[in-house]
Symmetry: C2
């Protein structure tokens, strides 16, 4: 059983996922690539994954776990957390631990082995985002979970272990530290000014335009004021909404346009870079919030995180966001 | 002039260091290796670095910036921050910025191009730590600085750009977020219990022994309870002390033993891995603290930080610290 352990000084939880490595020195170094024709995410190989928990595109009359789908969600075969069990929170002297319960799922974004998310159509990306929403709506019924992380690792330097386009979902019994810090920071701003800080940011970015990359009716894409690394890009809904899963399908369509445009621009500007994105949303058990505002953070994996950054939380970024944004605005996609 | 910018939501400062890249897409990918015989850190090449600010081993009568030294400290030729200027803090709408003032120095740990820090003698490592201390004592007189980061990147995956053994120092006009979080967390523990959390940890680790790697009269080395990644290892003084630079040379000798033993064990266990270490110490302008406790965090750079970790602050570690510690205790060095 994996374990969740809490750092006693700053309160950060980590997953000790022993099922993923067999010996202490057996640390993953590279990327396990499926031999050609044996990709477990390709149509016809549905029996190579655990049973699907969500599917789009296959008629309801067709049998499950067969081809004919456009988006397919399955449990991760090597989960970081286990779905069965209770928290069993306990102390070990001054330390805290609990069982590593949670869900870990894979969203297979397309049946096409050759296409990444940015190469799909707006309608196809919308279906992927709708699959995100459908899984959150289902998993939030499990009261053991407090937060659901939706994220994508694309390319080996960004942590992907299979090349077929996919994103991931991890349902957690705790709220991740960085999201909690955002929530706390946004609440301080709200307490002081009675405005959402993200709404303020959207307003300033749309007015100033220097860091603006793209906008449509409902979403704005920009390089944040203080990016941790080159070409960090945020996708933020213009209208205030704390919870990703509260968005209706129509607005997810606008989000898909913005996400697809962002990925295409990054791909054209940087030559198909490895990248990560993550959805930041309000925790499952919190009421809809006037101070927090869901969004997507996209980060090309261009630079190693060095000791300085890792050990201090202090980042050095050689590319000003104004230059990155201009580059992304003007690039031909 | 580089710029410090503050994230408006969580308050994290980043350095926008434009001097380090010339064009937006000109992001460093690899490691610039000096051709053999042209290493700027080797004796005889002292004119290839900026003028030294500290030296150990060369007689005071000998001219500066020549050979004969055992440890040499020079300004970084490509500094992330600039030494001249004032803060010039100002607002840009809802955002905050200041001039990127600070010091960025390189500690050349040995004249021997072939040896890393762990291969030096205890006396030699003590001289390196004493150089750290001497530079902090000097730079803390500059009242613009609030914090001094001492760290080492060894090997290209850990962010090193030159292979000759060296560590770095960055003096900052702000306290890094992660250190501030530790200070705040330690203060909460102290307010509640009137004990230093680090002293509590040292006591529990020495009693429990499961995560203990090494100890001598003055320092203890262990795998922390909730490590972010495999083989993360901490070096902590047994006696309470908030400030690294307050340690007398004798205790730095014990610290050198502990650091050298740690690096040798990691090297033997993992096959000379790339690694980072960072010194966490009390900020320069704070009084000596009963609640904070300086220490060194060592992290082999074995795994990429994936999207999940980067965007959530939530880490998955496949190696339990008890297994890592047993491995490091028993390995032959």
């Amino acid at each position: 059983m994996p374990e969740l352990r809490r750092d006693p000084i700053i309160g950060r939880w980590v997953i000790i996922a022993t099922e993923r490595a067999k010996r202490p020195a057996d640390v993953p170094h590279g990327v396990a690539r499926a031999p050609a024709g044996l990709c477990p995410f390709c149509p016809g190989h549905e029996d190579k994954t655990p049973h699907e928990v969500y599917v789009a595109g296959r008629p309801p009359s067709a049998p499950p776990n067969g081809p004919g789908w456009r988006v397919r969600v399955v449990p991760n075969r090597y989960p970081a957390l286990m779905i069965e069990g209770d928290h069993a929170r306990e102390a070990n002297g001054i330390y805290d631990r609990m069982n590593g319960i949670g869900a870990h799922e894979v969203i297979i974004e397309t049946p096409d082995h050759e296409k990444d998310l940015g190469a799909l159509t707006d309608a196809e990306v919308t279906e992927v985002l709708f699959a995100f929403k459908a899984r959150v709506m289902d998993l939030r019924n499990d009261l053991r979970f407090r937060y659901i992380l939706l994220f994508k690792n694309h390319g080996s330097p960004a942590g992907a272990t299979l090349e077929h386009a996919h994103s991931q979902l991890i349902a957690l019994p705790v709220t991740p530290r960085q999201v909690q810090e955002e929530i706390d920071g946004a609440r301080r701003h709200y307490d002081h000014r009675e405005r959402c800080i993200f709404c303020d940011i959207v307003m300033q970015e749309r007015k100033e335009r220097a860091r603006l990359v793209y906008e449509n009716e409902e979403f704005v894409v920009f390089a944040p004021w203080a990016p941790r690394s080159p070409f960090e890009t945020w996708i933020v809904p213009k209208r205030h909404e704390s919870n990703f899963e509260a968005e209706p399908k129509e607005r997810l369509g606008y989000c898909a346009q913005a996400l697809r445009s962002t990925l295409r621009r990054l791909g054209a500007a940087l030559g198909a870079p490895p990248y990560n994105f993550i959805v930041h949303s309000n925790p499952l058990r919190d009421a809809a919030s006037p101070s927090y505002h869901w969004h997507i953070e996209v980060m090309p994996a261009l630079t190693h995180v060095a000791g300085f950054e890792w050990g201090s939380g202090f980042h050095i970024n050689p590319v000003p966001p104004e230059e990155a944004a201009e580059f992304l605005r003007l690039v031909a996609t």
